[in-house]
Amino acid sequence: MKAITANRLLDGDVVFWKSGQWVERLNDAQLFDENQAEDVDAAVATGKGQPTVVVDVYPIDLTPSEGHWAPVSYRERIRALGPTNEPTHGKQAEGGEAIEALRHAAGAARSTGRVDLIRRK
């Protein structure tokens, strides 16, 4: 599953494509499944054709989390939520179910230390 993200030109805010509009919450974003690759390309192209509205338009991969969708990439999670050192800053400050689902998303970049780097003497 994919979504499309960009930064709004005027304020740099993280936004997501939704049917020709740009919304601020990943939870409101339009989702594209693996059969909609052409739609993804079309939307990205449209976005790139709006240089006075958004910059850096690109698709992101999503993974399911608690009934919602979360970015696979940790970087995109931080973009969708806000900085991890300050929970009252960024979109995460709203709280709510969708935000919690994002915060609890498993997988990428929650390092479990499973890589065995310790040699036993």
Partner: protein, 552 residues
């Protein structure tokens, strides 16, 4: 402090008007993002993960209370009530909107602040010793020369589109508090045999993907030839620096490719062709700039202050603060006071608007209106009377500004990292906080002694990890945050690049690893040895074992 005159002020107004025009053209679609990007970068405006980031120049780390208060205002009115001090002595705001940037630049210009050339492929903020004018160690006040370079490099028409960014640092003390040797140009002020002042010129130092301690290109450059020699260096770089690959475009690559000797020769040849009279600064202008840094009106005081001694004896927290954060001043009865922005659980280098105002007030009441920023992301009040120190300490303490950890293990340099920065691979702030928490006990931190930990969230090395006693580099390993440790780097006069310790560690193992390194150090250190000294004596192996080998 340098006093802006009408010319300097009009310049800032013109610059801010120019940027306002450029933003309008961008919003109207008359400029593409590709055409606009260097223009906004040359006014310090980055597009980061959550918003625009504005990097405001703090020339050679020097601020007055009016300026600090204006920064606090901007933090409140245009950001989220705080700012972040950087490893180049600048200040950054993380939550800026493009549409507000022209107004912000106007407000900065009103107090003689700007964001000129804090990014972009041009000459950046020239950094210098935060103790300038206060330390007895210096052969001259490096702020004078920093200001000379600042003006000369501002909107330099020939050097505004270099192959890559260009950073100059200048120090005038034997102890280097500027990391000069890992700059594109490091200027080390020296006194020649006949007492004449000059610079040892280092070119091609740097960090990032390919760290280098820069070679000396010229042993002694008389100070009155500074600008023509800089012009020669920049011209050789502008012409022959690589432009085909941004990872190979810094001057350090050119110096390494040609070899220091050949590079020096090319600079010398270019320098000989430059008309010195047109290029070097007239003596009259140098005198004018020097005058504005004229002696601070210190009082004549005894070296010993009874109030100070009493407070030390009575208050162990104050005594600890003095031990770690207070440095000797050239003037008897005064002290240099470092303000740590590394309290436990705080984001390293951040200060709230309220904290900024406290510092402004203290500088105004007790400190000759003088505030400095260090490249370790801390602040300095360079001229405080010992008599006033207990009062200043109390004010700092009341505002979470009195953490007594300067140069200790919890005085960590950390870049904003993946929490804020579009370039990052991993987060730096939580790692810093983990380690600081581990060593939050001030007795333990003092027992460990001087230990400089520096954390970068990516190879661009804004956290200066290459020149850290323990350097930590965040890397992305298959989508997960891992951290590569290195040991034995130094950004001081004994500059060295750190050596990689071993395979990168997952985030939750880093603080433990640091603990193990410290334990290994404490185990074998001899009297008076800092961590860095012990490492240099015993090598990497004992430390490698401490982290990567476990006894059953």
């Amino acid at each position: 402090m340098y006093q802006y005159d009408v010319i300097d002020r009009e310049f800032l107004v013109d610059r801010s008007n120019e940027f306002r025009g450029q933003v309008s053209r961008r919003l109207a679609g008359e400029l593409t993002e590709d055409q606009f990007k260097p223009l906004r970068l040359m006014n310090g405006l980055y597009l980061q993960l959550h918003a625009y980031m504005l990097r405001i120049a703090v020339p050679y780390g020097s601020l007055n209370p009016t300026q600090v208060r204006r920064l606090a205002e901007i933090a409140r009115d245009y950001d989220k009530g705080y700012g972040h001090f950087t490893t180049r002595q600048n200040i950054q705001f993380n939550w800026i909107k493009l549409k507000d940037a022209p107004d912000i630049l106007d407000k900065l210009a009103e107090v003689n602040l700007h964001a000129i050339q804090t990014s972009g492929n041009c000459i950046r903020n020239t950094t210098s010793d935060p103790y300038a004018g206060a330390t007895s160690e210096e052969v001259d006040d490096p702020r004078v020369w920093s200001e000379v370079i600042r003006q000369w490099s501002t909107l330099h028409p020939e050097f505004s589109f270099l192959p890559r960014k260009f950073k100059i640092a200048i120090t005038a003390s034997a102890k280097d508090r500027t990391a000069a040797k890992v700059h594109d140009i490091g200027l080390l002020m020296r006194q020649g045999r006949d007492g004449q002042l000059g610079f040892e010129v280092i070119v091609g130092g740097g960090q990032g993907r390919t760290p280098y301690v820069g070679p000396t290109i010229k042993q002694f450059l008389p100070t009155d030839r500074l600008l023509s020699y800089l012009e020669a260096i920049l011209r050789v770089y502008n012409r022959y620096g690589r432009r085909d690959n941004i990872y190979k475009a810094r001057i350090k690559i050119l110096v390494a490719a040609l070899g220091a000797e050949e590079f020096a020769k090319q600079v010398e040849e270019e320098w000989e062709k430059i008309d010195a009279e047109r290029a070097d600064l007239p003596a009259g202008e140098l005198a004018r700039i020097r005058d504005s840094f004229a002696t601070t009106p210190f009082e004549t005081l005894p070296a010993r202050s009874e109030a100070f001694e009493l407070a030390k004896a009575k208050d162990s927290a104050f005594a600890r603060f003095v031990r770690n954060n207070v440095r000797a001043h050239k003037q008897p009865g005064y002290a240099i006071v470092e303000i740590s922005l590394k309290a436990t659980e705080q984001t390293p280098g951040d200060a709230t608007a309220e904290q900024m105002e406290v510092v402004a007030d203290l500088a105004e009441r007790y400190g000759f209106d003088d505030v400095r920023v260090t490249h370790a992301q801390n602040l300095v009040l360079p001229h405080i009377k010992l008599d006033d120190l207990p009062t200043v300490f109390a004010a700092l303490q009341a505002n979470a500004l009195a953490t007594a950890n300067i140069d200790l293990i919890s005085d960590i340099i950390a870049c904003p990292g993946l929490d804020y920065c579009a370039l990052a691979n991993a987060r730096a702030i939580p790692i810093a906080q983990d380690i600081a928490r581990q060593f939050a006990d001030p007795d333990r931190a003092e027992e460990v002694g001087e230990l400089k930990i520096k954390i970068s969230g990516c190879i661009n090395a804004c956290g200066h990890h290459h020149v850290a006693h323990i350097g930590i580099l965040g890397v992305d390993k298959k989508g997960e945050e891992f951290y590569q440790l290195s040991l034995g780097g130094s950004g001081a006069e004994d500059a060295s690049i750190g050596k990689i310790l071993g395979p990168a560690l997952p985030a939750d193992k880093v603080a433990t690893a640091v603990d193990q390194l410290v334990a290994a150090y404490l185990d074998v250190r001899t009297d008076g040895e800092r961590f860095l000294d012990t490492y240099r004596r015993v090598g990497l192996e004992p430390f490698k074992e401490a982290v990567y080998v476990q006894a059953d």
